[in-house]
């Protein structure tokens, strides 16, 4: 990615912060002058006291001037520019409203018209206050994303020859060896070449438990090394890192539209010109029918300043921002705003099996041993250690040994098992077929083996000198949270389906274990999408898969949820991407989508409702322009604040 800084200084200082400072200065400045005006106006209106007598209007005009034309200059300038370029914004309305109101103060010296100059200063001061509060709340809404942006390490300590040199992060190159001490941030994505440690990955995956890492394991940049020194070879840098991908994804997602937003966007786009037309009509209407110019001006100013495109335009994006930020914090990346809306129509949640419900690699689930357990694993582990088969690896992983026994001979019996010689003992490990071929009786454990097989597990029998000494059951074990997650989905009324290429027995066994309603087994990878299509006859389907083999099925589904594990996530597919490979994420994603969509609807209802009620009131001339401006400021603040309240929701 090429970076081009047009205005580097500003960017480094974060122009958002700069803008906040600017609004703050305007806020204070405007109110220093507006407050005395407010006091003068209250004294005059309610107590009929005019400290400056005849000169009061002149004093207000003078104090009001800096409020509008100095502290409000940004708004006035941008508003006038709108009239020149025909790109109208909120500022055009405020600028016109305040200038007209201010002008009445001057006109009042010459003709008989109500003096709105005090009102004008109040409008600007309230507008600035409203903007300040709104900008602040908007910053809060995107706080999670800002945290992500700040998450990356700034420096890295790399090995140069034998020396450790600290260099800025952007000078790290692929294949550099980085040294990370306990408590330090891992600077970039890499693979461990030396050392072991627990790594806190919560900032990326949302997983609160530290993950144990050893040689050859991958680590993610921005995670924290906790207790050991790690030597990591950099594999990805800069914009290729996992963190950079997540940030891009979240940022892009916030630019996507939720379908319900379309109406609001259309209204927002024509809003300001429409209000300008309405203002003219209001003025003409009042002038013609009542003949009261003062009333006509008051009503027109009210219309100008009460109209609030911000509440409308912000209603959806701000809720989406808060929602997606909350998700990102928990390792749930919402890629498309549309998913939030579609989610509420989903009736069926379909799962891939391997790697989604299960861990995706075999592990030892049960065993029986007729000899001392240590000895059993020593024998089994030492023989299996010689094989590269996934089942062998599972057995070795179950009981890792420091020193493996030396076998004098070793051979693989294809599809059946292994045999080898350990001193004068002949060891055979394999399935039923192998035992039968070798005439080894396993009657004593037959019952046990059978029950394992019914659960869809693969059984390996261990024999020493033609006598069975035990057996091991190996299966693609269910992930820790799968049962809980599927239970939660069912309680929420979703139908759960598992689509898998496995045979019926294995599939059903797993389905039973986790509580899946329906099993579609023996499905070829290319048929998965078709099965999803069939399920869609019953209503919308969310498909949960690993994103690598399941891409077509994900694409076919109404809401696609791609599961990742560690640093390998298929980021290009999936409306929602789960960083952490736990199914609980699916439940959370559904909860989050529903909560966010609810907020979106509330916000839209409020924003539309506000404008529909407030604008006619202003046209009718029943609202004082100050009240109108106050209502406008409050309406956009309330939308933004309401969105921030989403955070209180437990996901």
């Amino acid at each position: 990615m090429e970076h081009k800084h047009i205005n580097k200084k500003h960017y480094e200082e974060s122009f958002e912060e700069q803008e906040m400072r600017l609004w703050k200065r305007r806020l204070w400045g405007a109110w220093v002058f507006a407050a005395p005006i407010a006091i003068l106006m209250i004294l005059e209106r309610f107590f009929e006291i005019m400290p400056f007598g005849e000169l009061t209007s002149l004093v207000i005009l003078m104090i009001g001037f800096p409020v509008i034309f100095f502290f409000g200059w940004g708004t006035i300038k941008s508003g006038i520019r709108g009239f020149i370029s025909f790109y109208f914004s909120m500022d055009s309305l405020i600028a016109l409203g305040t200038i007209i109101a201010y002008a009445t103060g001057i006109l009042a010296f010459f003709i008989d018209v109500q003096d709105y100059s005090g009102v004008s200063a109040m409008i600007m001061a309230i507008f600035i206050a409203g903007k300040y509060i709104e900008t602040k709340a908007r910053g809060k809404a995107s706080q999670e994303i800002k945290k992500l942006l700040e998450l990356g390490a700034k420096k890295a300590r790399v090995l140069r020859g034998k020396e450790e040199v600290e260099i800025p992060i952007n000078e790290v190159k692929i294949d550099d060896i980085i040294v990370i001490r306990p408590g330090e941030k891992i600077p970039t994505d890499g693979i461990i070449t030396k050392g072991q440690s627990a790594v806190d990955e919560s900032m990326i995956t949302g997983e609160s438990m530290p993950v144990e890492k050893k040689i050859k394991d991958t680590v993610i940049g921005a995670t924290i090394n906790q207790d050991g020194i790690l030597y990591v070879k950099a594999t990805k840098i800069g914009s290729d890192t996992f963190l950079a991908h997540i940030i891009t994804l979240v940022e892009e997602a916030q630019g996507t539209k939720v379908p319900i937003q379309k109406v609001a966007d259309k209204v927002t786009n024509i809003f300001v010109p429409a209000i300008l037309v309405l203002t003219i009509l209001t003025f003409i209407g009042w002038a013609v029918f009542s003949g009261d110019w003062s009333k006509a001006l008051g009503a027109s100013i009210s219309v100008l300043v009460i109209a609030c495109p911000c509440a409308l335009g912000l209603a959806v994006p701000i809720a989406l921002t808060v929602g997606s930020g909350m998700g990102a914090k928990r390792g749930i990346l919402i890629r498309k705003g549309e998913a939030i809306q579609t989610m509420k129509e989903v009736k069926t949640v379909a799962f891939d099996k391997t790697g989604t419900i299960t861990k995706g690699k075999p592990e030892v689930t049960n065993f029986i041993s007729k000899v001392k357990e240590d000895y059993f694993w020593e024998v089994a582990g030492s023989l299996e250690h010689l094989s590269e088969h996934p089942i062998a690896k599972a057995i070795v992983a179950k009981a890792p040994l420091k020193n493996y026994k030396k076998f004098t001979s070793f051979s693989v019996v294809r599809g059946r098992g292994l045999e080898g010689k350990l001193g004068n003992k002949k060891i055979v490990i394999g399935n039923r077929t192998l035992m039968n071929e070798k005439n080894i009786s396993f009657r004593t454990i037959e019952q046990q083996i059978k029950s394992w097989e019914e659960e869809g597990k693969t059984t390996m029998i261990v024999a020493e000198n033609s006598k069975v000494i035990g057996a091991v059951a190996v299966a693609d074990a269910v992930k820790d949270d799968s049962i809980k997650a599927i239970g939660a989905l069912k309680r929420r009324g979703y139908k759960t389906v598992m689509i898998t290429g496995d045979n019926e027995t294995t599939a059903k066994a797993i389905a039973k274990q986790v509580g899946i309603d329906e099993v579609i087994a023996n499905v070829l990878p290319e048929e998965k999408a078709k099965k999803v299509e069939e399920l869609q006859n019953r209503g919308m389907v969310a498909f949960v898969g690993d994103g690598i083999n399941d891409a077509p099925a994900l694409k076919q589904s109404n809401v696609s949820i791609a599961m990742g594990s560690g640093s390998d996530i298929a980021i290009e597919v999936g409306d929602i991407v789960l960083v952490k490979g736990s199914l609980i994420g699916v439940v959370q994603a559904i909860n989050l989508s529903k909560a966010t969509f609810k907020k979106i609807k509330q916000n839209l209802f409020w924003a539309f409702g506000y404008n529909i009620i407030a604008i006619p009131l202003a046209v009718a001339g029943v609202l004082n322009p100050i009240v109108a401006e106050l209502a406008m400021a409050l309406s956009s603040i309330s939308v933004v604040t309401n969105a921030n309240l989403l955070r209180r929701k437990k996901i």
Partner: protein, 72 residues
């Protein structure tokens, strides 16, 4: 097809974002525009012959400022 990410300064209301979006869409060769008021960023998909300068101008035409343009 190229993709630009433009950081825009000065947008402070929903109409602003709409204006920038409208202006960018008018640039010849621009396929897809999204402007986010929340991130102050715009993601623009354009044909290869569209220059950064043209996009920058489209932003400033509406009264805002393109602070940074990234390709990617």
């Amino acid at each position: 097809m190229k993709k630009f990410k433009i950081t825009i300064q000065g947008m402070h209301c929903a109409s602003c974002a709409g204006n920038v979006e409208r202006s960018l869409k008018k640039v010849q060769g621009v396929k897809n525009v999204s402007v986010s008021l929340m991130t102050n960023k715009s993601i623009v998909e354009v044909e290869d012959n569209v220059s950064e300068e043209a996009l920058k101008q489209a932003v400033s035409r509406t009264g805002y400022k393109a602070v940074e343009i990234q390709t990617g």
